[in-house]
Subunit: 687 residues, 2 copies
Amino acid sequence: MEELVGLREGSPANPVTLHELWGRCPRIRRGVRGGLEWLKRVLFRVGEDWYFLMALGVLMALISYAMNFVVARVVRAHNWLYQEIGDSHLLRYLSWAVYPVALVSFSSGFSQSITPFSGGSGIPELKTILSGVVLDDYLDIKNFGAKVVGLSCTLASGSTIFLGKVGPFVHLSVMIAAYLGRVRVRTIRESENKSKQNEMLVAGAAVGVATVFAAPFSGVLFSIEVMSSHFSVWDYWRGFFTATCGAFMFRLLSVFSSEEETITVLYKTSFRVEVPFDLPEIFFFVALGAICGVMSCAYLFCQRTFLGFVKTNRFTSKLLATSKPLYSALAALALASVTYPPGVGRFFASRLSMGQHLDSLFDNNTWALATRNSSPPWPAELDPKNLWFEWYQPEFTIFGTLAFFLLMRFWMLILATTIPMPAGYFLPIFIYGAAIGRLLGEALSVAFPEGIVAGGIVNPIVPGSYALAGAAAFSGAVTHTISTALLAFELTGQLVHWLPVLMCVLAANAIAQSCQPSFYDGTIIVKKLPYLPWIRGRRLGSHPVNVGNFMSTAITTLAKDAPLPEVVKAVTSTDTAEYPLVESTESQILVGTVRRAQLLQALLARPPSWALGGQRHLHDILAGGCPTEPVTLQLSPDTTLHQAHHLFELLHLQSLFVTSRGRAVGFVSWVELKKAISSLTNPPAPK
Amino acid sequence: MEELVGLREGSPANPVTLHELWGRCPRIRRGVRGGLEWLKRVLFRVGEDWYFLMALGVLMALISYAMNFVVARVVRAHNWLYQEIGDSHLLRYLSWAVYPVALVSFSSGFSQSITPFSGGSGIPELKTILSGVVLDDYLDIKNFGAKVVGLSCTLASGSTIFLGKVGPFVHLSVMIAAYLGRVRVRTIRESENKSKQNEMLVAGAAVGVATVFAAPFSGVLFSIEVMSSHFSVWDYWRGFFTATCGAFMFRLLSVFSSEEETITVLYKTSFRVEVPFDLPEIFFFVALGAICGVMSCAYLFCQRTFLGFVKTNRFTSKLLATSKPLYSALAALALASVTYPPGVGRFFASRLSMGQHLDSLFDNNTWALATRNSSPPWPAELDPKNLWFEWYQPEFTIFGTLAFFLLMRFWMLILATTIPMPAGYFLPIFIYGAAIGRLLGEALSVAFPEGIVAGGIVNPIVPGSYALAGAAAFSGAVTHTISTALLAFELTGQLVHWLPVLMCVLAANAIAQSCQPSFYDGTIIVKKLPYLPWIRGRRLGSHPVNVGNFMSTAITTLAKDAPLPEVVKAVTSTDTAEYPLVESTESQILVGTVRRAQLLQALLARPPSWALGGQRHLHDILAGGCPTEPVTLQLSPDTTLHQAHHLFELLHLQSLFVTSRGRAVGFVSWVELKKAISSLTNPPAPK
């Protein structure tokens, strides 16, 4: 340090050798100093928010890895307890059920006691935030602890509760992004900027998905598809950068902890590469897409209905209002009882963890053919090398187990989504879709044991590829996204089925999008969050509708020349956040806006002498320090509905004033737009 | 037909059996008819533009396949001629050189004689069209033939000219999309709609890339990154649908023609899956990205400079102006002479076709290690099983050949881009990047023959994976895109290197984007096409700039109460396309716009009696039938530069009027915005 100080200050009195050495060559010293200055300039020229983005990615990866680590330990402890507890059925049942019940009720109670926002996935709320609505405190860093602890408990209860971590993780990373954004603003003393903050949030959403699945491509695309209706290429690049940092760090940690030898994908598959599928199988892939689409509609409908039922039913709504942990414990008890392995659980592979579900369903073997001749007995303990033995019950066959899984998990999943705790709903849906695909794939492999195209080299059907396609299609249909196809490839590392899987996902989406709102939109509807409906591609008759037809004309304008009593009357009789300020009562020419809060303050603080003196007007108040804001954008009555919708959607606006020849004649907000759009036709889904 | 007619009209006199049969069960008949009606309604409810999108995809796939087919035949004929012509060097040289010279000069002459727009890739022009500029005739279907024939000739000249087909294919498919859009408008009698047309064009751009590489994911993403700065999720879905149809059809055709057994990727690789790379190799991948970034800057700079030189140099500019085919022939002759295989060509594998270049560079073997002990002689004929033997010259080694390839192709590629004919510049860049990566990979495999991590299982370095990363990084850096990483995977079918390749592409992009405009932006600058500069992420000081600071106040307003001679004077002295119409000369309240052409027409057509009678005013003309248009959007002087830029970019606007308290005070167009942005800082790149 001494040397450095001496070097910087260049004090010749400092008797340090290194300094003397440097002192003798001032040219080199200047050169080095210049070089460092240049490097600093170059590194900072790219804009220091890149460093914040990188920090965001790395932080989220650390959290994700740490959470996985803790959860794995807890799950292992549970398994150990369950194995060691002896053969008494009661004890075994208790050890199986108490764990998740305790975790779930703690998760629900703890997180709800800290913040009421921590339940559910968080994606629906983020969607409304990114569309411009301000949900106070939703992104506050205070919620962070509640969400992390709650989510860890949820995950630790394993496949009993059968929930994932994508949604809350997106919420967590957006929280951190918002926090980092505020830190950044403070560090560089830049005026707080809304669009900059938004950029940070978009990157946060991308990194949330990417650090869960180590999938940067689909992380970015999935978050875009789910969150927004428009996005900029600039945000997309930033998202990629952050997601790559996050995914790299996440996988790097598992190399450092010696879980993996190098950076690999999460659920590696080894499908046949030369002829991955026969051409006619394309037809079955598309059919699988259609099946997944129909199933997703059924799921979405039942889920929304049941959620509504729970909220309106006298008993459950009272329970949820007064004692959330009790409701959670009851639901968890029901789920744990059903999944108890020596009971019903063994008929739908309930001993597998979430990851093992995927590993086994993407398995390369053809179960139906492998179990045709030899029937392995149901193993007493899980065999990590042959996970798929869990799916085989001699008296039930593979088909029975898979079908029973689909049947049971359907209502169990719907029940689990009503538990008020932090939990992700994407991974269970993904697994459910994989089971649908596996069932069809196994059926096909029995129907065509020699492959579909006869003659030449036999290419047997690979049921694992159907599981892959089913997972992508069902999760894509439920969330109304296409990038789940890419996610399936990034999870497995093989792209050989790219066209059939994509066609499967497209078919499923075509059905789901035309029949049901997506999972997240459904939650927005049930939770009554604000949203802007989507003007779909083509709607005849929507073009001639102008702002003049649907704007609200009930505006209270404040004229600059209005006498004070009139102003006070106007302010006390209405409660909008801001008033349009017009030149004079007569001309009504819009000149700016004034915030109600500031106006009230100014009115209250007016000098007492005014009450005595002559007539005072609004402009006296304004001149006395009440700030006004300029109107930067305004609609005209001739603006079309399409244009207005575009503006609101693209610029994340809340409301705009309408002027005609300079006169304030009305205003348009989400409410008016929503009404105007729904009067066109009944929209199938918000976006 | 008879039956059907009878069935539909239900005429009982028609003595057809089927009809009688039907006639007997009116209930079933009604049921079937109802069912068909329902099906028709359902199928058409989704909007019939989906059918147009599908048609677009299928059409482009057919064209792409047919073009590949024809080109392959022509190339095979050339190879046959070259092999059979005997051992005379003169004859062999002539047979090698005459073919491409003839093809290129024909391509250039033919396409230029039909339309001057057919040269080059077309992507820069499409970019300006999609940002809202109207380039007349550029998307006319008349250009289609010229582009198809010209491109076929270019491709048929093979790796001598070393050009691809992506760019022109994007142009072709956008042409067809525009044509289909016009057909659609005519069929369904909908009022022509600009935003609908734009949607079609965006889908067209995606399908262009997808049908060349059979890569729907990267087709969509690449076209988005290259073409636009903002895009809607709705367009992205439509793009996916079209691209999937196109890619599926394209690959289906090669199955039907027995080239492939099933639908597979284009350049299948077989990299090691278990441990695809050692962890420390990540560092080399990022270093490769940096190298590719620096090389791409050099390439972009040289290419733009040389293009400018050719346009300004007296000799070449005269040659290009008067005799384009001659210039093309001279350039082709130079390229063909250099690539003559028994001459210099053998030292940079000039016998390989474009596809064979990729096949050999992505090869799984380690050339440097394979040729260390045994040195295969240079084969007299191409060995399709061991394409990489072409890269080996005993006296030159692998490294010499690869380095010489990079050196020669650098200037050859730049020369080839100046030839005025339809040609794509993406594939050569992709191959060039693959060679950079291969060179580094081979060097590493020599430096670390036992793999990098010592001990345990040896995982030798796979130079093919560096070739993959280099291809993605170099092409990504030159075009300023990230989706080339995805393209590399979709071309090869393996995703195991997803993180290193993505990091490599990000590193290359970071360097290229901060130093040089992209290839397409560079062409926009050289061709002086209109563009809107990009306001980069953060630019301090750009926030307080308002529209009032940079708007143009030199507007000619027409007042409704202006006397006619004044109006005539105003119209004749200026030549803007439309005039703001104001309430009165005194108030200047903006009420609408009037088009110059229509106003002129109305002025010329005014009744001759007016000249005699008393003073007439503009409102008489307007009342006499001259149409005015309402102002749907207006800026205010307080709108910030950021907001105005956003509006122009998002809504594809050309100009807007600025009003202050209703008065027209100025206007803003691209010119003013560009000036305002460039006055902030010197922008590195347009977007």
